[in-house]
């Protein structure tokens, strides 16, 4: 990295920069420049407290006949306002605002005037993305992008290390089940949901699931939430589109940005294990409650407590032994951008390095810790070949190596969470790894945790991507004024391979004064596997017409495109669209828009491959009407808009069982379908009927309606956007309720379900300045309702068993807990599950149907029925060189299940394994603490009763989180100018800094046993030349 920095410095000093050196005039001569010292034209320059104002010319220069010392105000859209005392010769640098609202916005396949947008679109720009120190740009979305609900599932990327083994691998682990447009995604950490759907990602006009683009090279991320905006995706148009637009070359001398950033991460939400003596005490209590003899004696307790016998009575805090407190994360980015009238270019290089939470051993010469190292290059060259032809070539490459200890970090974490402090010593007296054969040789404690984390080698995933995009734009003005012809071609290749250099060491237990070997010993492997490859191609041709006739403006488009994806062994999945779009507006006041598209997918049965999708929109800029202008002058704009669209979702690729399953097929020779016959036990493989064919399969459909309004007040200082949507999805794939087993095989997925989603999205933005203090606050609040209208539910005898009519997702079904039984009479006389006699300290359930037995008929909806509410607040400001911003994210009406050993259920099960216990276990019921018990009594025999999912384990999942914050300082331009640097900024930013959660026992997002969510604090420097 140091070399790159040197190069940049060198480059900076050799720059030949020419400032305008006109003949001096009296008064004030000034230049206004941007962060790259490029002149800014049309900046409004006002003399404070007077009406005098002028605009800068094309060279960013202005001249005012006022004496030096006058206070001048510099104003320009999307830049922070500055007030400066004038000097005779002055250069003023304006800084990009955190929030932007440029006049043109990116929509699917085109860039249009903001006024013409009729759908529901929310957008964030570069500055909102770059304050988040994380591996993926999606980390910046929570709380910032209106209408997007996020939930983090893991704090680290996932690994795919198994060999491609099946010829129909689709629908299996590698496929992102919720996004059917692309086969593999690099985002395994954060799930996104917009209006109840997972969005499809479109990067620069091509569907592609990449989340690791350097945020610095992203110009904007837009979420297209309504049906009309996404309709050109044809049979993939039902899902919202996350539109990522990368930066293109801009005219001017080279703009170079270099950012170096490094920080520390800290795990959040790890539970606290109990020391061994407490564990032993609770174990005895469990055994006693089950009527078994105690396992630990008073001497055992003493040995555990005083640590007098570290080999026989170990007490190991495995979390402290295995995990680091802080781990580094760093990021280096270089962007070069510039161009001339003929050619423009943009190049971005980035390097990202994230270390995992595991400690490493000094004895091992290589790192076994989790790590993610990524190099991304993104370049774009646009050439104006002649007056009419523009060619743009974009190349994107990514090389990513991820590494994990042993061959499965998730398994290691799982073992870490479930291994008791006293399971075995780290090392035996003779120096071998400790182990324990509880649960049998090969059981959960036969592979020493330390050995597994630090001495078991590593597995590495290598992911390589290359993507090329070619755009041809031909202006056909000569044929017809306003007509252009575009061709877009894209080729992408992805390969994921795995390098397995793992091993397993034996561990030893001390039995009858001898060491006994446990577990399997695996020698050092050196395996290389192809995990996933995909080739994707996309071609699009379109004819565009855009012209104004006096007050009427017309734009129209005819397009044809074809997308083909080849993943591993599978046949190409090809989607073809042909259609068009026409828009008309009168005087930018009345808008009408319509789209019609025919779309086909080759995975559907012959003759049933093509469908028609359509939509229309209306808009009215009421703010331009005279009655508003005259009566409500403080309203600067007020637009009404509405869209309707009939969209499709060709999700046949989602499930392996649907791969060409319109014809009945038979399987053989895999999936363990074999047995041995004859006296020699010859293995025979057998044919068997595959999933039952569904010759009627078709795509899902949706009717999506959206109505919204955008209002600006007080010269756009305050902006309000509100949307109401009502989407009904039909023909949703599901299993029929009436699936009679006499059929003799499983019913296939059929187009059965019907769901409704509706809700409200509001966002409010205010920005203004007080002198040099620019400040802003933007908030978004969302309320998302959903309802299962139909899912062929089996008739239920009781209304509370029914699921139709309830929310589509997030609903919890279970028993209603009445607390813990406090006395034997109550336990004996109350309804309980068949075959179990409850005892004081067990969970008591409500017998909903009053039949005296607790069974499935007593399950009902116990949570998650309210509309999900989520909001975000971003606030910040800028004062001279200082800037700060805070992003707060919150979720309401949410519940989480805490039925897991680390949080709520005591993990002890002496039958096969002794699970670990955590601090929460001390709250278990005992006769003495009956009143304040927070958990049921300890007894394996009561597990059946006490681990049924009920309101006992349903916890408040609401939270408010300070998701992101940045404080930065930019050195004054006057200082930097001398060393030929346009900008130098130092900053501190952080992620997941502070959380208030409804339930304290665990992180509200990332569950125990997963890689914990990380708090990140990072500092960096950014240089602009």
């Amino acid at each position: 990295m140091r070399y790159i920095f040197c190069l940049i410095c060198l480059f900076a000093f050799t720059q030949q920069k020419i400032f305008a050196q006109d003949a001096k005039k009296s008064g004030i001569n000034g230049t206004v420049v941007n962060e790259f010292s490029e002149p800014l034209a049309s900046v409004k320059v006002m003399v404070k407290d007077s009406k005098k104002e002028i605009f800068t010319d094309a060279n960013g220069e202005f001249h005012l006949d006022t004496p030096p010392g006058t206070m001048l105000v510099f104003l320009w859209k999307d830049y922070y306002t500055r007030e400066l005392k004038a000097t005779a010769e002055m250069t003023v640098q304006l800084t990009d605002a955190f929030l932007k609202s440029p006049n043109q916005v990116d929509m699917l396949y085109e860039r249009v005037d903001r006024s013409k947008v009729l759908g529901a679109v929310s957008t964030i720009y570069t500055k909102q993305l770059t304050t988040t120190p994380a591996s993926l740009y999606v980390y910046a979305i929570p709380g910032q992008l209106s209408g997007v609900y996020t939930k983090q599932n893991s704090g680290f990327t996932s690994f795919n290390v198994s060999e491609i083994s099946s010829s129909a691998i689709i629908g299996q682990t590698l496929v992102n089940a919720s996004s059917n447009n692309n086969r593999s995604t690099d985002n395994s950490e954060i799930s996104l949901s917009v209006r109840g759907q997972t969005p499809v990602t479109v990067i620069d006009g091509v569907q592609r699931e990449i989340s690791s683009i350097d945020p610095e090279s992203i110009e904007s991320i837009s979420m297209l939430k309504d049906g009309l905006s996404t309709l050109l995706l044809g049979n993939n148009s039902s899902r919202p589109v996350m539109l990522v637009t990368t930066r293109r070359g801009e005219m001017g001398r080279p703009h170079i940005t270099f950012t170096a950033q490094t920080g520390m991460q800290q795990s959040l939400g790890l539970p606290k294990p109990l020391p061994a003596y407490q564990y032993a005490y609770l174990m005895n209590e469990t055994l006693m409650n089950d009527g078994k003899p105690a396992l630990y004696s008073a001497e055992d307790f003493a040995a555990y407590k005083n640590h007098t016998d570290p080999y026989g009575h170990p007490d190991i805090n495995w979390f402290k032994t295995l995990l680091k407190d802080y781990t580094p994360i760093s990021n280096y980015k270089l962007n070069v951008n510039g161009g001339t009238n003929v050619a423009r270019y943009s190049v971005s290089l980035s390097y990202f390095d994230q270390e995992g939470i595991f400690k490493t051993s000094p004895d091992v010469s290589y790192s076994t810790n989790n790590s993610l190292k990524r190099y991304v290059i993104n370049s774009d060259i646009g050439v104006q070949v002649n007056q009419n032809l523009n060619v743009d070539l974009q190349l994107f490459g990514r090389v990513q190596n991820t590494r994990e200890p042993g061959n499965d970090y998730n398994g290691l974490l799982n073992a870490l969470f479930s291994t008791p402090n006293n399971a075995y010593p780290i090392y035996n007296r003779n120096g071998t790894f400790g182990g324990n054969n509880i649960g049998g040789n090969g059981g959960p404690y036969s592979n020493n945790l330390l050995s597994r984390a630090q001495y078991s080698g590593y597995t590495q995933n290598n992911t390589n991507d290359i993507l090329a995009n070619l755009d041809l734009n031909y202006n056909l003005n000569s044929v017809l004024k306003g007509l252009t012809f575009k061709i877009k071609g894209n080729l992408a290749y992805q390969s994921i391979t795995a390098l397995d250099r793992s091993l397993q060491n034996p561990s030893y237990g001390y039995i009858d004064s001898a060491y006994v070997i446990y577990g399997t010993t695996t020698s050092q492997s050196n395996a290389f596997r192809t995990v996933f490859t995909s080739r994707q191609s996309y071609a699009q041709g379109s004819l565009n017409y855009n012209r104004s006739f006096e007050k009427s403006n017309v734009d129209a488009q005819l397009m044809y495109d074809r997308k083909s994806v080849v993943a591993n062994y599978d046949l190409a999945s090809t989607t073809t669209n042909a259609g068009g779009r026409v828009g008309y507006d009168y005087n930018k006041k009345y808008f009408v828009n319509a789209t019609l598209i025919g779309s086909g997918n080759n995975r559907y049965p012959d003759g049933k491959r093509w469908g028609l999708f359509y939509g229309a929109g209306l808009g009215w800029e009421m703010g331009s009407e005279d009655f508003i202008k005259e009566n409500l002058p403080w309203i600067s704009g007020w637009k009404w808009r509405a869209t309707y669209a009939r969209t499709g979702n060709a999700n046949i690729d989602l499930n392996a069982s649907l791969y060409y399953a319109y014809s009945q097929t038979y399987n053989s020779n895999n999936n363990g379908k074999n047995y041995q016959v004859g006296t020699g036990y010859t293995t025979v493989y057998y044919q068997y009927e595959g999933s039952l064919a569904n010759p009627y399969i078709t795509w899902e459909k949706a009717n999506k309606f959206d109505v919204g309004t955008d209002i600006s007040f007080f010269q756009n200082h305050l902006q309000l956007t509100a949307d109401y949507y009502h989407d009904v999805y039909s023909d949703i794939l599901g299993y029929r309720g009436n699936s009679i087993a006499l059929l003799g095989t499983g019913y296939p997925l059929e187009n059965i379900g019907k769901n409704q989603y509706h809700g409200i999205e509001l966002s409010l933005t205010y920005n203004n300045h007080l002198g040099n203090f620019n400040y802003f606050v933007t908030t978004n609040g969302n309320l998302a309702y959903s309802k299962i209208i139909y899912n062929d539910e089996l008739a239920t005898p009781y209304a509370w068993n029914k699921r139709t009519g309830l929310p589509v997702s997030g609903t919890y079904y279970g028993y209603t807990s009445l607390g813990l039984y406090q006395n034997a009479e109550d336990a004996a006389s109350s309804a309980h599950i068949a075959g179990y006699t409850p005892q004081p300290g067990d969970i008591k359930y409500k017998d909903l149907n009053g039949d005296g037995v607790i069974d499935a008929f007593d399950q009902s909806t116990i949570g998650g029925t309210k509309p999900l509410a989520f909001f975000g607040v971003t606030l910040g400001g800028n004062y001279k060189g200082f800037n700060f911003s805070f992003v707060i994210q919150g979720v309401g009406n949410r519940q989480i299940s805490a039925l897991n050993n680390a949080v709520d259920h005591f993990g002890m099960d002496y039958n096969t394994t002794n699970g670990q216990v955590y601090e929460n276990a001390t709250g278990r019921w005992t006769p003495e603490t009956a009143g304040e018990a927070t958990l049921s009594r300890l007894a394996v025999s009561a597990t059946n009763n006490n681990t049924m999912f009920s309101t006992f384990y349903l916890k408040n999942g609401n939270y408010v989180r300070l998701k992101n914050a940045e404080i930065g300082y930019s050195l004054p331009y006057s200082l930097l100018k001398r060393i030929r640097i346009s900008g130098l900024k130092i900053f501190v930013d952080g992620e997941n800094l502070f959380t208030i959660a409804g339930f304290k026992g665990m992180d509200p997002e990332v569950q125990p046993y997963s890689y914990p969510i990380q708090r990140v604090v990072s500092t960096g420097v950014s240089i602009k030349l």
Partner: protein, 584 residues
């Protein structure tokens, strides 16, 4: 510009012109590949037939890791963790919607495969479906060869599929009573499956007729080594005998749990049903191809022995020992199965006299005859591990604190006994080694005993042919003939006395072979035997001697509705024509 347009048009023409893509994955196997009209070897069709055989269950550790008989009065599970299927069954903690998956072969166990669908590939209905697919499809395959009687190989295979279908129906009928008879139709998603149950009588007739129809188009026993898993003529006749014995049994013949309900059994009693059962057994005996294997333990270890009629092939492994072997041995073993004291007491002495008979020579202070000169029935040693039994060149110590009952946190026997049956001859070994672990679905001894049972019921008093079968079985077991040649049996017993002897013989001869569980139902005695507590032995070692006391280990419950399984709740809810069994 024109050049460009030309090129673009050319390119577009090329793209649309190349239409030779693979339109359907060639690796996908379609129906005409499985049943290939050109394949005279019938490779794929045979491979499909293997798949139907695979649905026959191996009883080893079948029900949640336990033997089904751990849900009878013979044993309890040593597993104590969460819901143990056999324990749920014996404690009546089951209902029509939470019946243990591993004994719910109406819907199948692998319910996770498709969350909301049902009927998955290990259910007996899947067996019926696959057999029907085969029966309908095999006709076009011109497989070479055939039987000497002119039956073509394709016809033999079809008969095997019909045998398997009949067997799957038998398994359903003995659990549920009358079930829907689907005929040869293969149903698809557009078909109406709201089919009512056929009567019990119709189901029995169907199975019997199928067995009769196919018996001459199957291979004959003894099958060659490589065919040892295939259905033979003997298997078809044995299935018929087994079915008729079931049909003649009290639960269905005269003891219908809901009198007048033709779904749950015959609505009348007919002694002739016993005669039919006896005749069917006699038909198997008359084949003359089966005989009792001299070594009791080797029935389960020797492949293709003369006693086996139909098997579910297993493999070469130590799986039975690892799961059920006594704990405390270096060779491993988690002691899953805990035989009860009731089963232990059922074994007579080697002289054939029950231990309750004062003349038997049984000593309560030496219950396992370790020192006693009068030994227990040799089948006892072959079935049960008791305190002091020899194993792996050591002894099984199930006294309190002994190595096989250490009372630590690991799983151990609940009753003081472990199961010995099916295991290899490892008494003098030091470690386990792989051995054959086929599951015997039908063996010759059950034909003999079934014949004895049916004959005893068909006549007013036991005839000599009843005694003969018992002598044969007892002789093979190693019981001494005695001076009178009666193998410990009392001559001239009444029908009821003989019935008790036969029922006890079933119990000890076929322990853990999935007989006892069904036998106590078909004899309609489960209400009596299962409503007593299960007991085990509690042994305290005092120096060289031991003190024995019995302890209750589990309270089992049996209600009359348990004589038949419930039709799964959802299946009744989905299908208005599906009638639930009484009491569920």
């Amino acid at each position: 510009m024109k050049n460009y347009i030309h090129k673009i048009i050319l390119l577009a023409a090329l793209i649309s012109g190349c239409k030779k893509y693979e339109q359907f994955p060639v690796d996908k196997v379609t129906g005409n590949y499985v049943f290939d009209p050109l394949d005279s070897a019938g490779v794929n069709a045979q491979s499909y037939l293997y798949g139907i055989y695979a649905i026959v269950k191996s009883g080893h550790s079948r029900v949640g890791g336990d033997y089904l008989d751990a849900a009878s009065d013979d044993a309890v599970s040593s597993q104590t963790g969460s819901s143990i299927p056999v324990t749920l069954l014996t404690t009546n903690a089951v209902s029509s919607f939470n019946f243990p998956g591993s004994e719910n072969y109406w819907e199948g166990t692998n319910l996770s495969q498709a969350p909301s669908s049902s009927g998955v590939p290990d259910a007996f209905w899947a067996g019926v479906r696959n057999a029907n697919i085969f029966i309908n499809g095999i006709g076009v395959v011109p497989v070479k060869g055939g039987l000497s009687n002119g039956t073509t190989t394709a016809q033999v295979w079809r008969s095997e599929a019909r045998f398997l279908r009949a067997y799957f129906y038998f398994e359903l009928v003995r659990r549920y009573g009358g079930v829907p008879l689907l005929g040869d139709k293969v149903y698809n998603i557009e078909d109406n499956l709201e089919i009512p149950r056929s009567t019990f009588a119709d189901c029995i007739t169907y199975i019997v007729n199928e067995c009769d129809a196919i018996k001459d188009s199957l291979i004959s026993a003894p099958a060659s080594d490589g065919d040892n898993y295939r259905a033979t003529k003997g298997a078809a006749l044995a299935l018929k005998a087994k079915t008729l014995l079931l049909a003649a049994s009290p639960l269905f013949n005269g003891g219908n749990i809901e009198s007048g309900n033709a779904l749950t059994g015959y609505t009348d009693y007919d002694v002739n049903r016993w005669t039919l059962a006896a005749q069917a057994a006699k038909d198997v005996m008359n084949l003359g191809v089966y005989s009792l294997l001299p070594s009791f333990t080797h029935i389960f270890l020797d492949q293709n022995n003369s006693e086996r009629i139909f098997i579910r092939p297993g493999n070469n492994s130590t799986g039975i020992e690892t799961r059920n072997g006594p704990v405390g041995f270096q060779a491993g073993g988690t002691g899953n199965t805990s035989p009860t004291q009731e089963l232990v007491n059922a074994f007579p002495m080697q002289n054939g006299l029950p231990i309750t008979n004062p003349a038997s020579g049984y000593l309560a202070a030496d219950p396992y005859s370790l020192l006693n000169d009068v030994k227990r029935d040799p089948r006892f040693n072959a079935t049960i591990f008791y305190n002091g039994a020899t194993w792996l060149s050591s002894t099984v110590d199930t006294y309190e604190g002994g190595k096989s009952k250490p009372n630590s946190s690991q799983q151990q026997t609940e009753s003081g006994y472990y199961m010995r049956k099916f295991m290899g001859d490892f008494e003098a070994a030091t470690t386990y080694s792989n051995h054959s672990s086929d599951w015997i679905v039908m063996r010759y001894a059950e034909i003999l005993l079934g014949y004895a049972e049916a004959r005893n019921e068909a006549e007013s008093a036991p005839q000599p042919d009843v005694y003969e079968q018992l002598y044969a079985i007892r002789a093979r077991a190693g019981i001494a003939a005695g001076d009178d040649g009666n193998y410990g049996l009392t001559p001239n017993m009444t029908q009821a006395e003989m019935r008790a002897v036969i029922q006890n013989e079933w119990r000890i001869e076929f322990a853990f072979e999935e007989h006892r569980y069904f036998d106590i139902r078909r004899w309609k005695i489960a209400g009596t035997v299962m409503n007593q507590p299960r007991t085990g032995i509690f042994i305290v070692k005092n120096g060289a001697s031991n003190t024995y006391s019995t302890v209750n280990i589990l309270t089992t419950v049996f209600k009359d509705n348990q004589y038949l399984y419930p039709i799964p709740y959802n299946e009744v809810a989905k299908n208005p024509a599906m009638k639930q069994n009484p009491g569920w």
